[in-house]
Each structure stands twice: as C-alpha cells, then as structure tokens.
Amino acid sequence: MKSRFESHITLIELGMALLFFLLSSVTVLELFTAAYEQSMEAERLGRATALVQRCAERIAAEEAPIDALKQMGFERQADGAFAFVENGLTVRIEADEQDTLLSGRIEVRDSSGVLLEIPIARYYNKEVIRP
C-alpha cells in the first residue's frame, strides 16, 4: 500500500516537472522568436538606410543623376519612377527634373511595407545668357 502511494507521488512530481518544463519552454521559445524577429527587422532597417544613403549621395554628387541611376541598375517603370531590387528590398525613386532643380523621393520597401522614405532635391547651377 505504502509502495503504491509512493509511486503515485513520484508520478505526480514527474508530471509537475514536465508541465513546468513545457510551460517554460514555450516562454523561452517565444523570447527567442521575438528576439530573432526584432534582430531581422533591425538588419532590414540598417540595409534600407544604407541603400537610401547610397542613392541620395549618388544623386547629389553626379553630373547627370538620372544616368547614374541607370548605371546603378535602376529600371524605369511605367509610372516614370525608377526601381531596383536588392536582397529582397525594393528601392523606388521618383524624380522630377526641372530646369535648375531635381526633386522627388526615395522609398525602400520590403514585403511588409515601406521601411524608409526620404525626400530628395538637387539644385543645378546653370549658366544663363542675358536676353
């Protein structure tokens, strides 16, 4: 009788230990999943920032920014914007080139939506002839 009681106690203790282990495993898994997702988001945001800077600096520095974009691999879309895909990130540049000013915006997005967006403007100094 005593032996049977002891084995019941042992089983209950074992069951409680397993339950505790299961619950804590779920918590630990959730923590690691959340950490992984945040780490991936930080990595995507870092890459988006670097891409935006690369494009903006190229536009600011080149004599012919539109040609420079084409050299970088950008392709003109049906709506007139330029787009480029790199490692799952899509860079989209809308640029309106007037006489002395190029203005528009750069947008980087992934499958979840827009990660980063900045305005761009570039002033061109041009020689003028008096009428």
Partner: protein
Amino acid sequence: MKEEGRTRVGLGVPSMVLILLVLCLVLIGLLAFVSARADLNQGRRYAGLTAAYYRAAAEAQQALASLDEQMTSAYFESENEQTYREAYVQIRQADDTAVMWIDDDSAVMEFGAEEERMLVVEIEAEAWENASERRFRIVRHALEDRMEWEQEGDWLLMGIE
C-alpha cells in the same frame, strides 16, 4: 539513501537541475531579446536621423534653387554692377526666413535636422561680371551639432586635471 546496497536518487535532484536549466534558458532568452530590441531601437534612431538630414538637405537645395531664380531675374534686369546690386538688395530685404544675409555678399541658411542638429549652408554672391556663369558660390555645407554640453562637476581624466 541506500536500499539493498544501491544508491537511490529521488526526483528532487533532477527537478532542481531542470529548474536551474530552465532559469538559465530564460536568462539567455531575455538577454537575446533585450539585445535585439536595443539594436532595433538604435537602427530606428539612425534611420530617423538619416531621413531628417536628407529632409534638411532637400530643403536647402530648394532654397538655393529659389534664390538662384531670384538672382537670375535681378541679373537679367540689371545693366551693370551697380544696378545688379540694387536689384538684389530687394532680394535681401525680402521676407525669406530661410536666408540670413550676413553682409552685402554673404548669406547663411539653416535647416533643422532633428536632435539639435542644423544643416548650415553659406553662400557668397558673385560679382555682376561673373553672374552669367553663376550667381553665387556655396562656401559651406555642413551639419552642425547645436547641443550644449554641460559640465557635471570637476573630475579627473586619467589623472590630468
């Protein structure tokens, strides 16, 4: 505990080892989470500052284009250095908050770029004879930190006062 010559280990010791193991896993998980969150916050801050800088830079370029347009009109309307200067005096007196004229030929433009940073663009107007080629020169284009640092107290750095 010895029973019939064999040592019997109850469930207490494995349970304690299990609890210790789980606590270690939770601690490692928490550290990974806190570290990833800090990385993400840092990334967001950096992305925000980058966007703020380029917003300020775009505003500066638009202001320069607008100023160039006004100075080109002044150049077209003028006949010589004297009349050109008279024409762009009116530009200097215009209610343009972005452009601050330091003297007759120099102006400064400032654009906020968040966290007490300012993009400062300084220009110098060209003389009438050069105005056909360009109306002004950009002599400075710099991001300045306007944060005021306050000394917390007297302290020694590596023993040097």
